[in-house]
């Protein structure tokens, strides 16, 4: 008999784990609360570091899950821990007796309007990283040539006042990538990145930074934007300190892109409450061990993959999904082999 595995969340982590579990011979039930599968990947246009299409990347993941039972617009109604397994009732009325559960609930984007001083939702020219991805994807960039464009790093990250002291890991690379992309569309615009540290840790990320400087002439200003205001002629006036020269700085811009960070998913938290799962100070779920057992939770048979345990890039997320499949396989074999 095939063991049932319930996967919660149909983003990159849930999809990749489901495909691997299916290959290992399990009966996988994948639930996704939204209309479509793909999670945040479905919202992006091109991916760092190489600029490949997010759509094509997602299509490759979707192809792999053919044959998996996928329920979209479906959430967990209730879940009970039984002796050896989990009894889950889904919002579509189906009951699943699962021998293991994988939570892949991902993240929510930090709500940029919470940083009121940046004027998101107040000034038209202020948008987020996700808005810019959408504009690229839907080919809806403003046709009026902007003279100057700014990128603000660490919006809602590394910010205790905003409730998140952690680094969101992906937004430095996203900012540098998007800065190059807008410069390609508006070659005459001056493009600035306001950063505190540039965290270009991955393979080819540093090349992206060098390319942004050398080929695109992006100006990197070391200092956090302190406030944004409107000028008399309707442009955005941005204030920061150029900390490399210890001088206050101001510049007028036409577009300001906020690098909103990654926060734990609210719908993931709902599942967490149903099972009393523990979280760390950053609000993301706590693994059984942060070095050796990242994919395991403290509940036997309950696993994690992807951004539900903290900010992650796509390759990191996919690695975790594959290791979660291996861990689940090991758990099932240990628990259910007849002795």
């Amino acid at each position: 008999m095939k063991n049932n595995i319930l996967v919660i969340g149909g983003g990159p982590a849930g999809l990749e784990a489901s495909a691997n579990l299916k290959r290992l011979g399990y009966n996988v039930i994948l639930i996704e609360k939204d209309k479509q599968l793909g999670g945040h990947l479905a919202k992006w246009d091109r991916l760092f570091p190489d600029g490949v299409s997010a759509r094509q990347t997602l299509n490759a993941l979707l192809e792999e899950v053919s044959g998996v039972n996928c329920f979209t617009e479906t959430q967990l109604q209730s879940i009970n821990v039984l002796d050896k397994s989990y009894n889950a009732i889904l919002s579509n009325g189906i009951t699943v007796l699962a021998d293991a559960v994988l939570l892949a609930s991902g993240f929510d984007l930090f709500k940029a309007e919470k940083k009121e001083e940046y004027g998101y939702g107040i000034y038209e020219g202020v948008i987020t990283n996700a808005d810019l991805e959408e504009a690229f994807r839907e080919k809806k960039l403003p046709s009026k040539q902007p003279q100057a464009i700014g990128f603000v790093h660490c919006v809602g990250s590394r910010d205790e006042k905003a409730g998140n002291p952690a680094c969101s890991k992906v937004c430095c690379a996203t900012a540098v990538k998007q800065a190059c992309e807008v410069k390609e569309v508006y070659p005459d615009a001056d493009v600035y990145c306001f950063y505190m540290d540039l965290r270009m840790f991955g393979r080819h990320y540093e090349d992206l930074y060098l390319k942004a400087q050398k080929e695109f002439g992006i100006r990197f200003i070391r200092g956090r934007v302190s406030e944004v205001a409107e000028t008399a002629d309707g442009r955005l006036q941005v204030k920061a300190e150029d900390t490399l020269s210890s001088k206050p700085l101001r510049v007028s811009l036409d577009m300001l892109v906020l690098m909103a960070g990654m926060r734990p998913s609210e719908s993931g938290k709902t599942v967490g409450r149903q099972l009393n799962l523990t979280t760390e100070e950053d609000g993301f779920f706590s693994s059984a061990d942060n070095l050796l057992e990242i994919q395991r939770s403290k509940l036997p048979g309950f696993f994690y993959a992807g951004a539900c345990t903290g900010a992650k890039t796509l390759p990191d997320t996919l690695h975790e999904a594959r290791s979660a499949a291996i861990e689940i396989d090991r758990y099932i074999k240990e628990k259910f082999s007849e002795k």
Partner: protein, 108 residues
């Protein structure tokens, strides 16, 4: 006019709206590597002249980007063209040559 003993000091605020972009573009054309500076400070740290007079390639580049030409030239006027900064620059910028180009474009 009565002299009250006060003087108005110019604002030290950097205003990127009023930077002379044409000269910097001319510099970048002559010396494209100027764009690659990552403000590491190796050049300033190894500079022989800086022991005697404030000299810093890093701060000179930054000052030009911020439109503070006088300050940039001041930061290079003690330079003795020894070339140590070029040897240490991790971005491979020929800083010694850059200094000459800066003088050419901005020097009077």
């Amino acid at each position: 006019m009565i002299d009250f003993g006060f003087s108005v000091s110019p604002s030290s605020r950097i205003n990127l709206d009023s930077v002379d972009r044409e000269s910097f573009a001319a510099l970048a054309k002559l010396e494209p590597d100027v764009l690659k500076c990552m403000a590491c400070g190796s050049c300033s740290a190894s500079c022989t002249a800086s022991q005697f007079e404030p000299t810093s390639v890093r701060r000179a580049i930054l000052s030009l980007q911020n439109g503070q030409v006088e300050q940039a030239l001041d930061l290079l006027k003690g330079c003795m063209m020894c070339g140590k900064c070029t040897m240490v620059c991790p971005r491979g910028i020929n800083t010694r040559h850059l200094i000459i180009s800066i003088q050419k474009i901005y020097g009077k």
